[in-house]
């Protein structure tokens, strides 16, 4: 909470003074693939991964109203190989469609941890970037990538299906280059993520060891 202004977001000077590091640990944008050239196997596997994306059918916020429009006949997302999956065990992509209240955040974290690598998170809407319409609410989280690693952001409130498809295509480009998929990075930086998560989630009852 800020002390100098009354909109609740700390200003840059306050952050520098408090020496808090809010920069996200795991992100795909700008990540340099340390393998300079990809082997043929990686090329084929990434080709398969980018053309076959199973999206978990989980609408976390009001942005989910655009998902049926994207999946159905007019804006057909299935031509990219995108289809719905029923449970996190079968899914690759977790769509955070809009605002996340702290109550939903606890469930989303568990769902994210139940998925299998390589897994991608696509964040819809402005609420995930900086709090959006609910920036001054006591109940929502303001920046998603403090709690979960995000691959692609889609700006808008809410993004139209064309934007959604543009976001998926961006994810496909990242997958082809080998830059997407932050599950391993999440596991490595687990303490940082847990610290942030426990700051906002009040009734924390996760078991000690991460084994889902």
């Amino acid at each position: 909470m800020s002390k100098t202004n009354n909109i609740g977001i700390p200003t840059v000077e306050e952050i520098k003074q408090a020496q808090i590091d809010f920069s996200p640990r795991c992100t795909s944008a700008g990540r340099v693939n340390d393998k300079e050239t990809q082997k043929m196997v990686d090329y084929i596997l990434n080709f398969a991964r980018k053309h076959s994306l199973f999206v978990l059918a989980y609408g976390t916020g009001c942005g989910a109203i655009e998902i049926p429009a994207t999946m159905t006949s007019r804006y057909d997302a299935e031509r990219f190989g995108i289809r719905g999956a029923a449970t996190p065990r079968q899914a690759d992509i977790l769509l955070i469609t809009g605002y996340l209240s702290t109550k939903t955040l606890k469930r989303v974290i568990r769902v994210y941890e139940q998925m299998q690598d390589p897994k991608y998170v696509i964040a819809f809407g402005s609420c995930t970037i900086n709090g959006g319409m609910y920036f001054d609410s006591y109940n929502t989280i303001k920046a998603l990538d403090r709690y979960l690693p995000v691959d692609v952001y889609i700006a808008g409130c809410m993004p139209r299906p064309e934007s959604v498809i543009r976001g998926f295509v961006k994810l496909q480009e990242l997958i082809q280059k080998g830059n997407a998929g932050n599950g391993e990075c999440y596991r490595e930086n687990l303490e940082w993520y847990r610290e942030n998560q426990q700051k906002v989630i009040k009734n924390w009852d996760f078991p000690e060891n991460y084994n889902w």
């Binding site: 398969a48 076959s52 029923a86 299998q116 690598d117 390589p118």
Partner: protein
Amino acid sequence: MNEIIIKIGGAFLTAILAFTVGMFYAGLRRKITARVQNRVGPPIYQNFLDLLKLQSKSTNVAHGFMGHMAPIWIIIAAMTVLMFIPVLQNNLWFDNLTLKGDLIFLLYMMVFGSLGMALGAGQTGNPNSAIGVTRGLSQMVGFEIPFVMALVALMLQFKTTSIADLMHFQSSTGHWIILENPFAFLAALLSSLGMFRYSPFDIVGAPAELASGPMSEFGGKYLGTMMTGGAVFAFIKLVLFVDLFLGGAGNNSVEGIVGTGLGLLELLIKTFLFYMIPVFIGLVSPRFRTEQAIQFFWKWPSFFGLIAIGWALYKNGALG
């Protein structure tokens, strides 16, 4: 020695053929569904990409020993049944073990895979899986009855329980069995709708209804193997139906590779045409509840089955 090499080579060829054609048919189904719904749809080879992606998942969640056995048993069932169905008739490479097993063995072997998946789904502990399994098994009691009636009618009419003999009859007389006993074909066709588990009988693994039923806790390589097994099984059932009723494939007098190629082409055309019936019915149908599905199979399809048995006896002269 030469024979054994040909047999094993033929087995591998058949397996690869079943796998490839099965996956392409699944992709074709998605494409046709998309076109009917006025959209573009995924490419035909989409299922191969799905399989590759699932097999290349880098972490794995295992539920226990039976969960590990489930995809293995499905593959065992698919491969074993495949070896005993004549894919092409009188062909050196695709003959496999045709003369060593008969229809009753096939009926029971097809259940082996479902049992494996049921046990694996049970061990995960998800109640949705268990509910899906019970629905699937109950539906199986439904559609097996008219199917068995059709098969018994065929066995009575032609006095044989081996598929190779039935194909031989069709190729030697030139009549397809669909003309000899049309009621058996009707009963078998209606029960095949239940076998393929497309609408209106897809309550077993419906994603919105049951969190996809038995497959809900499987991911990664298990899901990939099960999808493969499902696709191969679809192809096997299609070949079985074509062999029994539509005259089989491969009985041409052209020698060598060209003959095999022509035979495969004929098989593909016939299975594709037969496959379109469940697919199109599935596109336009809503879903039955389980008890509605079971009772559906015990009404008209069983009626046709009984008439088929009576027709077979009449043709045989037993009824006079």
